[in-house]
Symmetry: C2
């Protein structure tokens, strides 16, 4: 503990500054351009400093750490115990019972053969178990990505007329989705998924849920006529409604976890027993037995559909990545461990690249299944392995059992899953906190429902970015006033007891100054001056002597920003000349004063050719309080008649 | 003058705060959503408050002011005097002597008939004289916009094979340029031109200058063989070199102002005298006499070229608008009067719409001609009228005189004008102040030279916006330390005498918190905590008791931002629990403390469902100094053994 720091804690010493004690504003310690660039790159791309753990380690240890970094399984694998395995096997079997019916259903949602959904629940979980760092993620196909994949590819190719081409395009899109995801992680550009804000996702998922439900309802209603006799649909949908409710209550989660498989089994038995397939109930039909066939020869890297598969890969890749990362982070926060976003992206990306070569389509960490996994007591990624083995057994031996599964039950499974995506309480919360976010959410919702999935997303993201740009181009300027009895200066329009100091206009600029806002800031500040003078003129013949700009919140500046200060200085001095001309007997002066520029801003201001013009000896202070105290004594000396 | 404010200026009263005197953070005065929206819209679109002058005025006066607002000529017209006219006639004739040769030259640069350049120097200046608010702007065709118009239209239509269609497209592009400019002004979206930063413009203009010069040199060199005998080219180019130099020196500006016309006259006489047109010197040839023919029937509003003309209109419109506004602002600042950006946009836009119907192509305020106008003593827009009348006389009676003007002298005029656009000192200044701006400048330069005018601009603008987004997605977090003997807290890495206070980690977040940076901020702040603990652990067994976040610079927040504080609070409290588990005998605690949230941020935090969770009684302070003073006494009481 430094002795100085300790002293500050004594009440009588802490604020021993007198008004005339002025602290100098000094430029920050010199760093070369290279050093600056290096630290900027580090802050931009390595905020979590992944190499920190490698520091001060012997070489052998470094290799082990590196291997553990690439394959997290090496980290937890050696300590794996039978006790953990017992938990994992229960949760693994539980999510398998979800994954099998959901896999078949989601594949149908993507207009793919049902078996592809099962393939996608076999290989990717194994890959993730080796590479992934989340302990709770249950990997497999998800509804949203399936919906997008299907709807984007259907725009150009019909899955009914040309099923083989459609399958090839789906695998190719999966390849590009994986490639894109892995690249984002490798290039540490993960922040791109941050642009899908929570508001966008809530609107988007609700919109997607509406679309999917309408699609499925159409087919559900189309067969109502035939199924009414058995009351299958009403029974199922009310059952699922209850299940959906119970999903939110961990205690009843076994019901929600078991229901889809139970429904499939029950409905299959019913269809088989009543031979309902001959009475208009459409069933899945014969499925091929056996494990994933290789599919790398089906990938399209050229030809007329390349643009389509790249675009589809990008959109499904970013959407499924967003879901996977969000799920991983949510459960990591619950269990208080860290998930490295960029590492996860590489794991999910590789999983999809390998998947695309083994007849799998886009997979990621599914929210609902991961929740079940977590609640069933999953401890490590071994639960994914257990699920994968269960799916393998199904693929090898149990496929004939699905022959009589009615399609309608798959539709119900889909609707149940997606209806759960509509999050009204979150929407209400957004409305309460931020109206603009709510508008963005509505744009995403209506865009997805009425235009298309990718355009709805693009519109919402564009509006969000526009809002950020608007914040930058129209930064806030606050007028500060003194809180009586202190040297604290705060926003006049926020703290009602803050008071103006005559002759001073104190503004705080609340954004980096750059080309996009220099003009605005100049206009706005000149308007503050005019308003101030109009106001003061009515009260008494006073004019601005000091324009104090508090730059504490100006985190960066560029060449245009530097010129702003030159222009303002000139404008302020002209005001002084004008005022002197009006009040003939008295010399007026107006001075621009800067307070607390941060390191980078100060450096750039000093580097300008006319730095001395902008920052004279009495025009740079460390705090507003010191500036006012020092300058008000000057003012009293020179034009006392007006103050 | 409020009595309180005055009291604060007494030295003994100014800083009378004791460490334990804590000022409450209160929410700002309540305003309804509509009020907030209204004030936000006003700040965004009416920063200059154009309606301010209408306040507290009788109705009749309001009408007069409104008319003067729309037609600035009504403002200065009634006070116009013969003395002003004498100045204006001199400057008007001077710029006419520039406008005639430059008009012909720039029209050729745009691949248009030379006479269109003269037409464009007749009608638009008259329109501007009525609507424009700048007193120094010399209106007419400019080199950059001519270059872009020509090069964009030539991509699809050949001016040699299909001159009529080319002309029609040029007029149509002019129409859309004007429409776009006027709309920007009317919708108060003028900030869009701010995105063309100074760095971009310098790079862009230098690139354009290189392209134009190379184009012209090719034709200049092509005839060197023939002209060598007369030494015309060497003479002219050395003459122009000198002129270009003298442009920077106002005293010699008569030389630069008169040189182009003089060159044209001299070279025309020489060609005529020596009958050089028969010896390989290409000349303009016969030009049609008479004023602008109407051209509204030539505008294309449909058909296959509509996309091209709209795109060309957009690019030329925004570029010429940028030049016009920049020129207007520069000279207004020199003479200390105000130019209303949005009004100017409407004036320039209407000028081009009317121009497109009267055989004119894109015009704006030209920098070089406006400088000559200013130096020649122009007082009002009447100098534009004088120029216009001179051009009219030329069009009516003097056209035959240009028959023998050699094309080479037009090329020389163009090269001279564009070489002056390369601004090396400004480029050096940019390099000195901001390296990133320099990179943007280079991108604009090389983009224009090696790709195309519009793509070069687009790339440079995209990079600039990307930089802004990067600043927002990767905001700075500064670690603050106490400046000994004060209650001032400043960046530890900037002020070397600032010291850490044990048990406290004080961070200042330097940007609005939103969806795009929430994840980053969380990661970065957790890393600060880890680094702090690693560092402190080595020195002595100390842990963080208080994480203080200074939110003074956080100007806005959204729903994602609100959740950041929930997550941080949880993470910080977990740290405390962990620390307690390690140091068994001592109860540790870690608390998240917020300092000085601005009004909007505080309101949104309070509106969150779990506001009380985030901001407990002892976790919200007005200044860092007060927070540290109040909390350090708590800390001493509870875990004194560690501090």
């Amino acid at each position: 503990m430094e002795p100085n720091a300790n002293n500050n804690m004594h009440p009588d010493n802490c604020l021993g500054i007198t008004p005339m004690e002025v602290h100098k504003v000094v430029p920050p310690p010199h760093r070369s351009t290279i050093q600056k660039l290096k630290s900027k790159l580090k802050e931009t791309f390595f905020p979590d400093d992944p190499l920190l753990q490698f520091k001060r380690q012997p070489l052998g240890k470094k290799w082990i750490l590196a291997a553990q970094y690439v394959f997290p399984i090496l980290q937890w694998g050696p300590n794996y115990s039978f006790k953990l395995f017992k938990s994992d096997i229960v949760s693994g079997l539980t999510i398998a019972s979800l994954a099998i019916p959901q896999g078949i259903s989601y594949a149908k949602l993507a207009s793919l053969p049902p078996i592809v959904g099962l393939y996608s629940s076999f290989v990717p979980p194994l890959v993730y178990a080796v590479l992934g760092s989340s302990r709770d993620l249950a990997v497999g196909p998800v509804s949203i990505a399936s919906l997008i994949l299907g709807s984007m590819l259907r725009q150009k190719v019909s899955p009914i007329n040309d099923p083989l081409l459609f399958l090839q395009l789906a695998f190719s899109s999966t390849f590009f989705a994986g490639l894109f995801q892995a690249s984002l992680g490798l290039l540490r550009l993960g922040f791109i998924i941050d642009f899908l804000s929570k508001a966008i996702l809530i609107g988007f998922m609700a919109g997607a849920a509406v679309i999917v439900s309408l699609q499925q309802l159409k087919s559900l209603l189309g067969i109502t006529h035939f199924t009414k006799q058995m009351g299958l649909v009403p029974v199922l949908s009310s059952a699922f409604h209850n299940i959906n409710e119970s999903m939110r209550k961990p205690k009843l989660f076994w019901v929600s976890a078991g229901a889809p498989l139970l429904s499939v089994i029950l409905s299959t038995i019913l269809v088989f027993a009543f031979k309902a397939q001959h009475h208009g109930i459409s069933v899945i039909g014969k499925l091929q037995e056996g494990l994933n066939p290789p599919s790398w020869n089906m990938l399209h890297f050229h030809g007329s559909n390349l643009g389509l598969v790249i675009k589809t890969g990008l959109v499904t890749g970013i959407i499924s990545l967003t879901e996977g990362i969000a799920v991983g982070r949510t459960f990591a926060a619950l269990k208080n461990y860290q998930v490295d976003g960029n590492k996860e992206m590489m794991a999910i990306g590789l999983m999809n690249v390998i998947g695309s070569a083994t007849s799998c389509y886009v997979t990621t960490g599914a929210f609902s299944r991961s929740a079940v996994n977590h609640n069933a007591g999953a401890k490590t990624a071994v639960s994914n392995v257990v699920m994968s083995v269960t799916v393998m057994v199904t693929l090898l031996f149990l496929m004939p059992l699905f022959q009589y599964t009615p399609n309608v039950v798959l539709g119900a499974i889909i609707v149940t899953a997606v209806i759960g995506l509509i999050d009204f309480p979150a929407a209400c919360q957004i409305w309460k906190i931020d109206k603009f976010d709510f508008v963005v959410m509505l744009c995403a919702f209506f865009g997805v429902v009425f235009i298309s999935v990718q355009d709805g997303l693009a519109i919402a993201v564009a509006i969000s970015i526009f809002k950020i740009l608007l914040q930058v181009t129209r930064p806030k300027t606050l007028v500060l006033g003194n809180i009586p009895g202190t040297d604290i200066f705060r926003n006049l329009h926020h703290y009602k007891d803050a008071t103006r100091i005559p002759g001073f206009l104190i503004l705080s600029i609340e954004a980096p100054i750059n080309f996009a806002n220099t003009t605005y800031l100049k206009e706005r500040i000149l308007r503050w001056i005019n308003e101030y003078e109009t106001e003061e003129d009515i009260k008494k013949q006073s004019s601005i002597h000091f324009l104090i700009l508090d730059l504490s919140a100006v985190s960066a500046i560029d060449t245009s920003g530097v010129s702003l200060f030159k222009d303002l200085k000139k404008a302020v001095e002209n005001k002084g000349v004008e005022a002197s001309a009006w009040h003939l007997n008295c010399l007026f002066f107006s001075i621009l004063v800067l307070v607390n520029p941060v390191g980078e801003v100060l450096e750039k201001l000093l580097r300008a050719d006319d730095a001395r013009d902008i920052m004279g000896p009495d025009t740079l202070y460390l705090t507003v309080g010191e500036a006012v105290a020092a300058l008000s004594s000057t003012m009293k000396g020179q034009s006392s008649s007006y103050v």
